[in-house]
């Protein structure tokens, strides 16, 4: 799990916190915000999981070319 994964995690966390906040907010009928940011949070958790899974299992760190400077 490298920086790509760890930079997606805060998105999922912040969106989840906001979704919960909007879900319990007693004003403004904000449940729509909760649904949208909640869906987004789950989506980015999924994308982070894809990033974690997509790394070839048989390749130790550094065994595949680092193209981050491309």
């Amino acid at each position: 799990m490298n920086e790509d994964f760890w930079l997606i995690v805060p998105i999922a966390v912040v969106w989840a916190v906001l979704a919960v906040a909007y879900a319990v907010a007693p004003w403004g009928d904000m449940i729509g915000y909760a649904w949208v940011w909640g869906f987004g949070s789950i989506l980015f958790v999924g994308l982070a999981a894809l990033l974690a899974r997509a790394r070839p299992d048989n390749a130790p760190d550094g065994a595949v070319p680092d193209t981050s400077s491309r």
């Binding site: 920086e3 729509g32 949208v36 760190d61 193209t67 981050s68």
Partner: protein, 551 residues
Amino acid sequence: MEQSYQDRFAALGNPDRRLLVGMSAASLVALALGILGGVLTALARGGLIDIVPNTGYRFLTVHGVSIFFYWLFVAQAALLLGFSAIENGRGLMRRPLAWAGFGLMLAGFAFSMGGAHMGIPLLYDGAPALAAQTPRALLVFNLGYLLLGLGLMVVPATAIATLLEPRRAGREQRMSGVGFALFTWAGFLIVTGFAAIYTFLPGTLWALGLGAMPTNHGTNWHIVFHNMHYLPLMATVILWYVLVRHLTGVKSVFGERFSKIVFSMYLVFVPPTSLYHMFLEPDLPGVVRVTGSLLSLFVSVPTLTAFLIIVASLEVHARAQGGRGLFGWIRMLPWRHPAMSAIGVAVLSMGLGLAFAFVLIQEKLAPLLSDTFFVPGYFHFFTVGTVSLTLLAALAVMLPALGGRSLWRPGLLRWMPWLVLAGLLAFGAAGVAAGYLGVPRRVIDVAYQSQAPALWQTLMATVGIGGVVMAAALAVFAAGIAVSLLPRRQAAPHAGGLTVTWGESLLRPASSAWVGPLSVLVIVVAMYGFTTIGFEMMQSLPVTAAGGGGH
């Protein structure tokens, strides 16, 4: 040596090219229809053509729907796929998904345009209350947005699969800065598609007789609206990042990792800043208003940070090439390429747009200005000057490379963004001033049986003239780029003569770059200036305004 974007696009296979060309063409058709609707609306609002208000609202509906929903989002989808394909280097993965998503978007466009011509014009937010007597019109209109939303959820899956493929195949350990930006962009597109479905499904169910009339459409609209104006801005800064590399060979001097942090920050900041859309809600507690005001200050942090990265990187490299003076290095940029002119105008427009946006989202000013012409006056700096010109700049790079032909008349096209800016300045200045003076938005005829101040009509006539200039220049720019879609009749010369290659230049240690920070300072000063002017002008008005439905 690193392959140019032109070579990488040219190397894509025919199936990818067909998809990208089809999507780009569809986006340009939506742009053309939207421009036509916009010109007619501007002329009607300026009192330069005489039409019944209902027809004017229909023009406005076609304008808003075509441009804001279909041009901006079909073009984004095409560019996301195009740059993902060349980032991978082996073309698109799971291409049928992208075709399916594109098909949904096209069907959505047909339904939306059909709905725009039925019943009472619903404007681009499609408020169900307006269609209380014409549920069938709302059904057709909303089906368009639902199909678009589904398309936006499906197309990015292809981009995500494409960007993950090198990693899965063991050719890459971590994404490049561009790859990561495209990955987050794809995620945000999916969320926006979901928001569109969430917003327009209740009205559709009501029209089908399967649910109650949605009374909270206004609140739901703010959700999708928030996403739909942030997403194009995120796309804009990503495309600046990509295009600057193509045009100058310059990469970020701060490193790829810092760029990734900024693109991640973009999405971290999006939801917390959405609270300001609720400022017009009467039951919003004071503490929430204050919190919303404070959070809204973060709204442009990622955009400005990305801007600083790009400008500082360019300045440092230009100085290494001999650029002198505080602004002298800017002359060395490859202005002969129309994409560079478009980006230059986009940056200036963004500065103006941000300054006015900060005026609008202040808790005390939002209720006074949200229903005035201030809103269209300022947001065209974003939609036309910043986002549309950036998307067209990217298409000006992608389409000629895909078609294997050179860009049509770059010597002419490079002036079009500046002409767009000239029209935009007239439209925006008159529109913002009109807003400060209380001219309502979404009203075709502001004469009010000659009871309205004479200045209102003068300002709206200026809006009309500025709008026509802006639209004409944008149409020529888009048409010039669209020529690249025609079958090739000549061999494609390399665009090298229009670009520069500064990527290999030797940078001096501790180089300084002041233009970026200075620009941010100017934006902050302008924000305070326009806020002060706003208060002064509105205090002199004979009425105290109260806001309505918000933007």
